[in-house]
Symmetry: D3
Subunit: 339 residues, 6 copies
């Protein structure tokens, strides 16, 4: 199984433990980014995982690539050039104090990449799946154009496509997002995104009767999913269902909707170590399970288990195996020691 | 808004994480002390915060001052001299193991300060508020006398006064505490303290019928507050209401009583990172909100939110802004990431 | 009170915090092993604690001995020789991710020890208690034979004997375990072990009607204990009762059964810092309380409190005093600060 | 003595010890920048030190300001705005491996500042000295224009001016540097810079006969200094004289030239802890000594001692007192313990 | 250029800085081993580097493989199986205290590998060079036999062969080493080893007149090299020349001898960060330079520069590029900052 | 060989590496004190080492005792009581920046001990040697009196006595020191101290002709030693000879003078890791060697080698064996790896 992911890779700088920004003069320096997170998960699951981005020629970016290689991700399609890689500063919340993110990603190598930078025919030839997110087209007009090049090539090579819509208000307006993303939706087979994203970027509104204070009813989610399928022709729609109790505790599950049929996963009560990348781990789990030919209920359970485990792991990347996710599906997570 | 706080600043030495004392040969070295904690909070809230103490002429004390300056606290009124600064060793508890404190504060520069050390007229001229605690007069007879000097000057300059009564049995006896503290109460506008302190130092007893196994009923707290107002002429009485489930989990709220009227805050379930300084953060929040002219209910909600957030932050000092406390009042702390 | 414990001491290598194995290039290097853990607890409780093992002549083993000495454990009976000490790698779980152990203990000095290595008559002369576990005889045939030598000497010197049965499937088969362990049972006064161990090594089966999905009913545990007493002549049987909610949260208590009478401790909800050694701390608490002449109910409460506190402490060793365990029995663990 | 410094403040990210970039996932996060380094030194020496820059409104920049405040630097003139603060990554060399710097400073708040941002009349009113470097005008045309505004105001207010020329080839070309910097030289009283900088930016060439393989002869340095004075009207020229033996060991001294007279300091053999900021510490020492009215020989000795001590201190900032520098001048650095 | 290296990979556990073993409970956990070190260097130099070994199926070994992948080393030929990977404990010396190594490598997966484990024809097909050391045949008779299989395949495929003789007295006797290693010498093109190794394993003795107290004269080294060539038919002999002044300071250079002609490198005075792997870095540099077609003098200078830089880098692996080594050859290591 | 040492044990708090005080909020917390340092060294050498002091009943003091036990020091004679243990803050120097010590030792348990606290007859019965320093009598009049009690008992039991004179100007005046120390000298067999101490406390002056800028000539040291022997009746006088080049580099050796005969050790050039405790390690080495019956030249070489090795070890305590010191005597410290 060969999966190509495309997006921006950022240097992540976070204080240790629950310290506030620069409370002590030490930062944990790791890497991450939605599509890279998906790519690493897939490599850990044993897939051939090809990650595509653009990074400058310096030691920081090289370290990012080296770490991807350590997971077995194919980094040979990464273009080198540009002035800098994006950075994000992360302060992990605790109890009633929320996590905090400061982005310093403008002018990054991938945002400055020009159309034609990547030979998508060569990259996607032989691939089974292509995954991207709504963040990449938001980086710059050129990045959006490169995404369109990738989607056209995916279609030409018969590659299935997933999109994690992921609206980021600090990158573009709702209007621009809609204008750019809607035409891309025709290429997408698996749509991943919450009701809020669907509304803000794709103009789908849930029935007012199904709107709760902090989310939608099941019927509301299903209505949104069905509308997405009706409007954009997706084969399936998936969304994670997070109940945020505090920065330390969340409930988490997901729905996979295949048209007229909704599959809900078990819901887990999670004591959070690091929630960044939880959604990406879910996406990776879903892509893996679907490519592996699993049934929808099994697929969503596997994907949620993968995402749940991510919350117990430091850093953006989900360092788990297929066996570990399956064990969680089986046991429900009672926490016995593995000897 | 200009607030003066006066008290002892200690070097705090704590093992990392949940280690026991010297389980590993590394100590986190920070600073704190009730009134300094209040002063730092106020500076973070944007107030002109003047902290008064006495510290020796050495690099450790200088580092303590430098850190206060980093928060924007005015340290120009700090007297230098004496042999040492007080130290406290803190071992943070977890689960069923309580936190543990070892004090090594005898013979400190402030305990050895002589009356007349501080020019209180100059210090309090133009100030809006003066805050002290029951710990300072307990340090030495001279420290008590200096406190009396400050209170007299506060009255002379029309400065409002708050006192966090904070009885410490390891510093003095109940009898001595009562003899020293009661005459100071006439200067106090806002009294902050629990029912236990009120009983031990000020001779106020709750109605027996309102005494529960682990605290008082609401009516009991209100009775104590009303008695305090009746006896000592306070304008308001505030106390935090902590339910200690374990060293890791507490429920926490507060009451502000303004004479015949009790205002109770929301109660928060807190997963604790570091509880030291929680009460001081509450005091600072209350002083800020009252000086800012907020209504009693708003004031106690703001103060409790500030105190709740402190529990998620390492060290004595509360590193939060007015906006962060207000956001918690607004959201109730659902833990969503701030991007 | 003089207690001798005998077993293997391992170097424990664990990533910091909740990191996965070698996610960062740093390992916490401490020491532990069931019987050493019991011995350290007993020394901390003020007992004369003699620990017997065999360790190679190198700096790593010497550091292990030095740490035992730091607790006041008598290490003068430890034999030196062999090529290596056993190692175990520990990854601490969190939330739904279980802890993970990798053993690298084969060919250790104690596994290669020859019968006659220890002068058990000299070691046990004057001792009040001898404690061993089912792990030691599993290490090698010679180790089993040495254990038999110890048991014979214990009987000769009138020393009471406890055994923590602790079946480890990665060390030997159920059949071999049964063949080796059963004859040793006649020497045992206090048997410590779960129903599963009793079944796998000693052929005791609970009534089918008392088997629950995740354990037994109280009646089931009592039936197993009574059968053990009937079959092997133990004076008492103890087992801890763990309900594993997740890797972060467990409920925990214990039963002490003295023949026809079961004593159940309070059950604690534990937020886990480090669960390794919890059972050993219980064993140590029980031995201490029984040697101290406490009544069964008091003994099991003390032992469970000791074990509960262990879960809040990093490392295998339980760094608590008798007073701390007794305080927990008294207060139930409300987490107030000890000043 | 009131000194104003103006320039860019950067976040400095460096691996611990002698590790290469991201060899371990931890970075020391401190702050620095030539003019801030000078400002911090001056504050440590007891001067009124005002630092002027522009920084964004985020927690990272606020931490930078807080640290300046901790040293007693006046930060009230710092403008807030823009998108980011500059970053530099530093890898400290050792033995034959040189230190390595990666800049990520483009698009910083100060580079994007507009003329008129700072009220130089207010800032420089009452000041005794203004210090800038050749790096600031290189950041952007606007930054150059702001520098010109500052210089005009300095002249108007009779403020003495020093410039550390510091040519950086990665910021601008030699031609542009010359065109921008030369007109600024007329405002400068104390010029600090090496012969290479003087040649590249200011067109001064040493006599060919005085050029050595790795620097100039004393006569060569003096010739350059005299030419600079003749051409630009400086009152004095200073340059540090570094002999780089390896990344671990340097010899270091300086010359102060006052027109026809050269003053050479003692030369020190330095075992390097952190060499970044050594030159800035020299500049600060020189400014301090000259404002303090010391004679040229004393001034250069003091300045070099300050710079030498910087090499023993981690981070950009020189954490030393006047007394420590003077003690080094007196003793020559024999390393006896100060008790 | 495609190079295959074969040997044992060990987990390296070292206290931080200059601490003695377990002085603090923290160990730096990295990986290394002579041939892996050579392989990593070659990958860093841009070669196709294939590393062959056998490692168990556990997370520790997987982490070792992942790190090799991060450097771009081809790990697809590594066999999985066996019970454990070897460990070595390293305490870094300082001043007059020497470094100390404790090996715990017996029973490792590679020592227990059986002949036929590796398909050497497939592995060496298309390779340009094969490198092994005298340590691997010393691990076990089977490991020696596997080495012989590799050498035969290398000859069959026309692959050039280098051997770093590296006699280890703790692994085998001088007699056994000679018996095993001598027949392997006929396959070797480039022999790397000191005079002592040559004497102990290969029976070559220097002329008595050329023996100094701490090594040989140049004529002595040349005599040994010529004898080696005469006896075993090597095309070239290389040896590093280390003068150990203390654990902190060494002088270091090398000789490459091509038959009748000796090429000596520059000698460097090194202030040591970590000397482990210095010789391996030299070997890698030499292999690279020779495969790159460089002349003997250039080759030995490049190889020594690579080895010198290794001494400034923590860990076994040499994290440098071709450009960095060449820069050192060019500059001699004056330690200027690279910006 | 049984040796008793008596003095104050302090908590030592030091920033990591070469950081200045509280540059980062982390302190290394270890223990030390002249006589404890001697006692630990002797225990490491295999002697029965009994350390006598007074420490409070708290967890910090208990940790200090536990660490002594880890080395095998007999701590059963330590009295418990008092309010605090002394603290010293240590900042390690580098290059031209000297190390810095801040003492916070007043009011310590040992300074407040009363005469009669220790049963010296029981403690010294069977001892071979008693060691004290001039610091202990300086702590308080009672501490001086306790020292006199010890000396009287030593004489009564025929125990040999050594004194490290160690004048500390911050503890007492030269006059008081002389008045207290001189009468104690009659009990001393081995006097350890520099010429400066001898002059300040004991009134011995070197011939003016033998005074150099930074010490004395050999003849000068010998003259002082002979005068000491003549005046006080010592059997031997020893002093270390330190040449302080910088905080990073010292030359170090020693003289042992036995009356008319001076024995000088080899002089070592030391690159310093941590110099605190170097003199104590020398004292311990000398006591060990003399008790072991070694000749003066061998004894001083052994003692100096022990002290030299200390300079390479973090912390006050010298973690070396007899074999390691002897190896250094043999090899001169060429720094080869011990495998």
């Amino acid at each position: 199984m060969r999966v190509v992911t495309f997006g921006e890779l950022l240097l992540r700088l976070a204080p240790e433990g629950h310290l506030r920004f620069l409370q002590e003069p030490r930062l944990e320096a790791t890497f991450g980014g939605g599509e890279a997170n998906v790519g690493v998960s897939l490599a850990e699951f044993g897939a051939q995982s090809v990650y595509v981005t653009r990074l400058p020629e310096n030691d920081i970016a090289q370290a990012a690539i080296n770490q991807l290689r350590s997971f077995g991700v194919d980094t040979t399609k990464i273009a080198r050039g540009g002035d800098r890689m994006g950075i994000y500063f992360l302060e992990k919340g605790a109890a009633q104090r929320p996590s905090k993110v400061i982005y310093d990603r403008a002018h990054s190598a991938i945002a400055q990449a020009k159309p034609g930078t990547f030979d998508w025919d060569a990259i996607l030839d032989g691939a089974d799946w292509f995954h991207f997110s709504g963040i990449t087209p938001a980086l710059s007009d050129d990045a959006a154009q490169i995404t369109r090049e990738a989607l056209a090539a995916a279609r030409a090579h018969g590659v299935r496509v997933s999109c994690d819509i992921n609206y980021r208000a600090n990158l573009w307006s709702r209007e621009k997002a809609g204008a750019v993303m809607r035409p891309m939706m025709e290429y997408v087979d698996l749509f991943i995104g919450g009701a809020e994203d669907a509304e803000q970027e794709l103009g789908i509104t849930p029935p007012a009767s199904e709107v709760l204070e902090d989310g939608l009813t099941h019927a509301g989610y299903e209505s949104v999913a069905q509308q997405l399928i009706d409007t954009y022709g997706f084969q399936a729609v998936a969304c994670t269902l997070r109940e945020s109790i505090s920065a330390s505790d969340n409930n988490w599950g997901a729905m996979l909707y295949t048209g007229n049929q909704a599959y809900y996963s078990r819901k887990y009560a999670i004591h959070i170590v690091d929630r960044v990348g939880g959604g990406d781990s879910f996406s990776a789990g879903l892509i893996y399970a679907l490519l592996d030919g699993r049934q929808p209920q099994d697929a969503v359970e596997f994907a949620v288990a993968a995402g749940v485990l991510k919350h117990s792991i430091e850093g953006d990347y989900n360092r788990i195996t297929v066996q570990e996710a399956e064990r969680l599906v089986r046991t429900g997570g009672n926490g016995r020691v593995s000897r």
